[in-house]
């Protein structure tokens, strides 16, 4: 078991490194993101894919435990909605934060949208859809 202090420190370091890295890769730049999604420039796509390959190898070497993670009912509709939102607003959940940090003040609207969307999801799914929402296991 990791202590609360260790997890807190790790989260702070992770956040700092993540914000620094994704900003320097260019994920907060809408033009760069669009060039990735339309395959005009593969630099960011290769960054992401390369990271996944390194992580797969590292997890195998470090014997990080495997989790089954069955394919739940919410994954396809949720991923479609997320992909649509990412393409039109330019922000996955971490990106509006670094957009504001880069000075793009309207990204605050994206953050408000994310908060509204998350509350709406929990409310609507609990009341109407009753889909299994799964978790990436944080």
């Amino acid at each position: 078991m990791r202590t609360r202090g260790a997890i807190l420190l790790a989260s702070i370091i992770t956040g700092l490194a993540l914000g620094y890295t994704v900003t320097n890769i260019g994920f907060g730049d809408y033009a760069e993101l669009n060039r990735m999604f339309t395959f005009q420039d593969l630099r960011m796509l290769l960054s992401f894919a390369g990271a996944v390959v390194i992580v797969v190898c590292a997890f195998a070497l470090l014997r990080v435990r495997r989790t089954p993670g069955r394919i739940h009912a919410g994954v396809i509709p949720g991923a479609v909605l997320f992909g649509t939102g990412w393409a039109i607003s330019g922000g996955c959940p971490a990106i509006p934060i670094i957009q504001i940090a880069s000075g793009y003040l309207p990204a605050l609207v994206s953050i408000i949208g994310v908060i509204v969307g998350m509350r709406l999801c929990r409310w609507a799914n609990g009341r109407y859809f009753h889909l299994d929402r799964g978790s990436c296991g944080l």
């Binding site: 990791r2 997890i7 807190l8 790790a10 989260s11 956040g15 490194a17 914000g19 620094y20 890295t21 994704v22 900003t23 320097n24 260019g26 809408y30 033009a31 993101l33 669009n34 630099r43 992401f48 390369g50 990271a51 390194i54 990080v64 993670g69 069955r70 394919i71 739940h72 994954v75 396809i76 949720g78 991923a79 479609v80 909605l81 997320f82 649509t84 393409a87 039109i88 607003s89 330019g90 922000g91 971490a94 934060i97 940090a101 000075g103 793009y104 003040l105 309207p106 994206s110 949208g113 994310v114 969307g117 998350m118 929990r122 299994d132 929402r133 799964g134 978790s135 990436c136 296991g137």
Partner: protein
Amino acid sequence: MSTYWPWWAGAIGLALVTINHTVITDRSLGVSSAWDRVVHWRRERHLEQMDEEFTDDQALAEALAAATAEHFGTGTGASTMTQAPYEESQPLEADIEAAAEDSPAVTNRRPAPLVTQAALLISVFLGGLIAAVTSGRFHLRYDMGPGFRDLVTANPTAMIAVLFVGGVLVGFGTRLAGGCSSGHGLSGCGRLRPVSLVATAVFFGTAVVVSFLLWKVI
């Protein structure tokens, strides 16, 4: 020429972030999960407080066994307990089941404390700010830059509407899918989880289709 990092530097950076977080915290990295817990902080705090009351699993198991014995008038020795007060309980249970095969110690793993999720989000902002300032890209703007202006809209009202709708879709979609580009894309794909591979393929594929349809074709 782009002033951004080359692809290999980006790949190494993202990989190191993911690996370090996983190894140090024994938990997957997931920004949308952190958002979700911070957004619903009242409920999460309440659950944490309930959780803390039952921190001592052994004491709880003994209390349950004693209560059962008292109720039925026999010593059952029952000590089976499912600790899953959090809403995302099903996959966590699945995680725990899988972990039990590898390491009994992991069965005690609980969600990361709420305060660490808030710290993660604040740190992402600070990390982004440091990167923007040190690279000379920090400029206060009331728009989303030339890329958004040229490809989407230059109208301020339309810009606000697009950002809000996009944000709602991202928030709704990531929670319905159970993760985002960091949780499913990096951590989940890094573990070769089928659900994460499917989620990543679908959200990335959708983003490609929407980008072509909206900004390239129309």
